[in-house]
């Protein structure tokens, strides 16, 4: 009885804290400006099904895709077992779903195979990161917490799966020993194709076995709750956010950049021959939008969702031509910087009730050197498995630097002047535009 009450309390606290953190993430994402991504619902849904459920883009790299698929399927399917664990925990039952008979055995058996495959995959992932040291996991932005985070997730999964198998092994042995409520009249319940190999390792004393079984059971469910609450602090948040993120992702053509509404108004005014340049703005009650982005508040909320969804896999950086030629720009770092700054702003709000100017901005995280190195080639966008668009952030910051601070590199200022004066990025006269016809 105490166990049941304790279990229910732990479950409620775990779920409650998780929900409050998700609400915090949603609040932070909503700090962004409006995004107009409510169109093409069918196409967006299809995108989500293919890219989030189906992990289509992962398969550009088959080896990690396969390993990731195992962990993903393992995660989803083995979690069916959690339903039983929760019911058993609350009502003090044991293997409540075993009435399903043969199907139940099939399920438990498959969970065991999957759990083993997950352990294998996760181990290979760990080797890739820590022994083979794949290049994309070694970038400067991966030092410190991001590296720890990635490894922690792998340890979590290993430990959870081991607990699951240990629990089954002890349960199986207790069933064989016909011990207490572990004994089922109908014979062995569940199928233990993997954990039965642990039979001989486990002690023969039923009391110790119960201790191991209960220990593993509690460890497994508490581990899951801890992991659930770890998500918000981790790149692992993508297991939830990949779904909305792929739904709201930019639709092709990738080379299309939206036209800034705030600029449209100004240009319309300038092009209007009847506009009186000296007239006072009539009903300009609200402050005009800042051009481009200086801080996370200036980014569209979808860009902020992108940042929370980033898995830090580094495929974007791996294909970035600027990064591959040794420049400082790393699209992954751009996404991580947005998330870090957003978290900082969120904590500021938590502490003060509303955002109090901290004298900082996104530009304290992202340097101009990074921003100006982008060729806008869209390789990073094409590559991202969760359909993030680091380009959106880069262009928004460029817009701020150029239109609010006039801080473009000097050659680009020359280019702008040329376009303004003679309608070409170079200093050629517009009058010479047709010379090519008669030249040899």
């Amino acid at each position: 009885m105490i166990g049941q009450i304790l279990f229910t309390i732990i479950l409620l606290v775990g779920a409650g804290y998780f929900i409050s953190n998700i609400q915090k993430a949603i609040r932070n994402i909503k700090l962004g400006k409006p995004s107009h991504r409510d169109d093409h619902k069918e196409q967006r849904l299809k995108n989500m099904i293919l890219k989030a459920f189906g992990q289509q883009k992962m398969f550009k790299r088959p080896i990690p895709a396969l390993l990731h698929l195992v962990v993903y399927l393992g995660f989803i399917i083995i979690n069916i077992e959690v339903i039983e664990i929760v019911i058993d925990g609350i009502f003090g039952t044991h293997r409540i779903l075993s009435f399903m008979g043969g199907f139940y055995n099939f399920l438990i058996g498959s969970f065991e195979f999957l759990a083993t495959l997950v352990i294998v995959s996760v181990t290979i992932f760990w080797i890739r990161r820590n022994i083979l040291k794949l290049l994309r996991f070694q970038s400067p932005e991966m030092k410190g917490w991001p590296k720890k985070d990635a490894n922690l997730i792998l340890y979590f999964e290993m430990v959870l799966m081991t607990a699951f198998l240990t629990m089954n092994a002890a349960d199986y042995k207790l069933q064989v020993l016909h011990y207490g409520h572990y004994y089922f009249k109908q014979g062995i319940v569940g199928s233990f194709p993997i954990s039965k190999f642990l039979y001989n390792i486990l002690p023969d004393n039923p009391e110790s076995l119960v201790l191991i079984e209960r220990g593993a059971w509690w460890f497994h469910i508490i581990g899951i709750l801890v992991f659930l609450n770890y998500l918000y602090f981790s790149k692992h948040l993508h297991i939830l956010l990949a779904f909305p993120n792929t739904y709201y992702a930019k639709l092709p053509p990738l080379a299309k950049f939206e036209n800034l509404e705030s600029v449209k108004k100004e240009v319309a005014l300038m092009m209007d021959p009847n506009a009186d340049p000296y007239a006072m703005p009539v009903e300009e009650a609200e402050e005009p939008d800042r051009f481009g982005a200086r801080d996370v508040f200036d980014l569209e909320w979808v860009y902020l969702l992108n940042a929370y969804t980033c898995t830090e896999c580094g495929r974007c950086t791996d294909v970035c031509p600027a990064n591959q030629t040794g420049k400082k720009l790393s699209p992954r770092k751009i996404m991580m910087d947005v998330r870090d700054r957003l978290e900082e702003v969120g904590k500021n709000i938590d502490a003060n009730g509303e955002f109090v100017d901290d004298g900082k901005s996104l530009l304290d995280y992202i340097s101009k050197e990074e921003i100006w190195a982008c060729t806008t080639c869209n390789a990073c966008v094409e590559e991202c498995p969760v359909e993030n668009d680091p380009l959106d952030v880069i262009i928004a910051v460029r817009q701020y630097l150029v239109m609010e601070e006039s801080a473009a590199p000097s050659e680009l200022n020359m280019t702008f002047t040329n376009i303004e004066n003679n309608g070409a990025p170079w200093q050629y006269s517009q009058m010479d535009r047709l010379n090519w016809v008669d030249e040899d």
């Binding site: 053509p253 400082k328 100006w372 060729t375 910051v397 280019t415 303004e420 535009r433 090519w436």
Partner: protein, 264 residues
């Protein structure tokens, strides 16, 4: 250059009360860059040969604003767009063809929202359909059987999903394309986009064009084909960097096709 290229301007035609079927937007590189002008000429000759009813804006043409937009100067971009749209709408332009993937992208994707709605073609798309319709006929051609690799311009390929038109033109010429390790949606940028063409690179190990050209040269091509004047500049620089300019030519799809056209 024995044959004279026949090019009319929109203004000349308008004075005669005529409207051409399609506007050939030459673009800044195509108008001013010595290398790119050759591409412009090759394409204009092809248009002549196919009897396409076209005209250019000539001195009324201006920058589309692409480099300004990619560099964050949205204001300048929209000013350029407004001016260009005013000019094109005054001539009642319905269709545009351009040899520049950057101009192509702005017309196709960014001008409609600002009041400029046109049917937009990249020159490789138009050439593909002229070949299909039999308005251009190929014979053997100077490049038949020669090893050619094709570099996808970002703003045509990954940016707008057009991978096939340029390849189809090369296939018509019975050229087997030797694809680079990274091609189509995985293609690597030449280094010019996003206004990089007009500025010095940030501190780096090597230039992007060197990086990309190295991969192109790994296919041992006689010709590196591309479909963008800026890519052409960058990869030409790359070929020079590797001291291969005697062995490897960098050519536009239009130039390659122009060498393989059957004369009537």
């Amino acid at each position: 250059m024995s044959e004279k290229i026949k090019v009319r301007t929109m203004a000349e035609l308008a004075a005669e009360g005529k409207e051409p079927e399609i506007l050939f937007w030459v673009g800044c590189a195509g108008s001013f860059d010595d290398r790119a002008k050759k591409i412009t000429k090759a394409f204009a000759k092809l248009l002549n040969k196919a009897n396409v009813d076209f005209a250019v804006l000539g001195t009324e043409e201006s920058c589309t604003g692409d480099p300004a937009k990619r560099a964050g100067n949205e204001f300048l971009f929209q000013m350029q767009a407004a001016t260009n749209i005013e000019v094109m709408n005054s001539y009642n332009v319905k269709k545009i063809v351009t040899t520049c993937p950057h101009c192509y992208n702005t017309f196709k994707n960014e001008y409609p929202d600002l009041g400029g709605k046109y049917e937009v073609y990249h020159h490789t798309e138009l050439l593909q359909s002229l070949l299909q319709e039999g308005k251009l006929k190929v014979e053997g051609g100077a490049y038949k059987g020669i090893d050619i690799t094709y570099h996808d311009p970002c703003y045509l390929g990954r940016g707008n999903g057009q991978y096939e038109a340029p390849r189809e033109v090369l296939h018509q010429l019975e050229i087997d394309i030797k694809e680079m390790k990274h091609h189509k949606e995985n293609s690597v940028c030449c280094g010019a986009g996003g206004a990089q063409m007009f500025k010095e690179a940030e501190p780096q190990k090597e230039e992007i064009f060197v990086f990309r050209t190295r991969e192109a040269l790994e296919t041992n091509p006689k010709v590196i084909a591309t479909a963008c004047a800026f890519c052409n500049t960058m990869i030409t620089d790359g070929v020079k960097f590797f001291n291969k300019e005697q062995d490897v030519k960098v050519l536009d799809i239009a130039e390659i096709l122009e060498q393989g056209i059957k004369e009537d």
